[in-house]
Point group: C2
Chain length 96, copies 2
Amino acid sequence: MKIRTAADLGAFIKERRVKLGMDQSDLAEKAGTSRKWIVEVEQGKPRAEIGLVLRTLKTLGVSLDIAIDRTQKASAASESGNVDINNILNALKKRP
Amino acid sequence: MKIRTAADLGAFIKERRVKLGMDQSDLAEKAGTSRKWIVEVEQGKPRAEIGLVLRTLKTLGVSLDIAIDRTQKASAASESGNVDINNILNALKKRP
DNA sequence: TACTAGAGTAACCGAATGGTGACATTTGGT
DNA sequence: ACCAAATGTCACCATTCGGTTACTCTAGTA
């Protein structure tokens, strides 16, 4: 599932928690945070800190993967993961 | 690439930014944040807020995917994405 | 050598965080 | 209807955030 917003994240966490038969207190304790924080994150709080988010996801047995977005208009090098010489040259053009 | 810690995230962001030929100021401006914040995140700040992180990743043309972790010892239902009846029953046992 | 771009660091500050503990509401079972 | 568990909300508070501005240091260029 693609995560684009904090709301996406919150929905996923809640769904996953319920599937595992945990309540908010269980998850909070296992993830080393507070129930209040779980509530807020499940509601899509955009300013929650990533450290706690990562710990929470780990607790839920979930992995976060990052990848070059194919739906984005990107250069060939961009997708390959190599340095994009065109982008760099373009940036250089901005010099006075 | 799997993201397990804030340091992972920071390393990825920096690598990606450089590949695209951007400097910290460029990225900060395009992502709607400050250069200071970019510096901190690239250094692995664990308390950066997810909202900004998501915006930054979007700016970098990157997508975040979430998935049930196969390396984790998980029940069959857990992997399938269905409700895990065993976990729920286990939780019920805790009732006094 | 002198200059510049880029990266890292520091101080300042208003604003928001996350934890605690309590209370209110909703839900499900007896 | 009653009760208990789970969820949602609130006030309080020490801590930290993120933005701004300015300074340093390094590497590469003229």
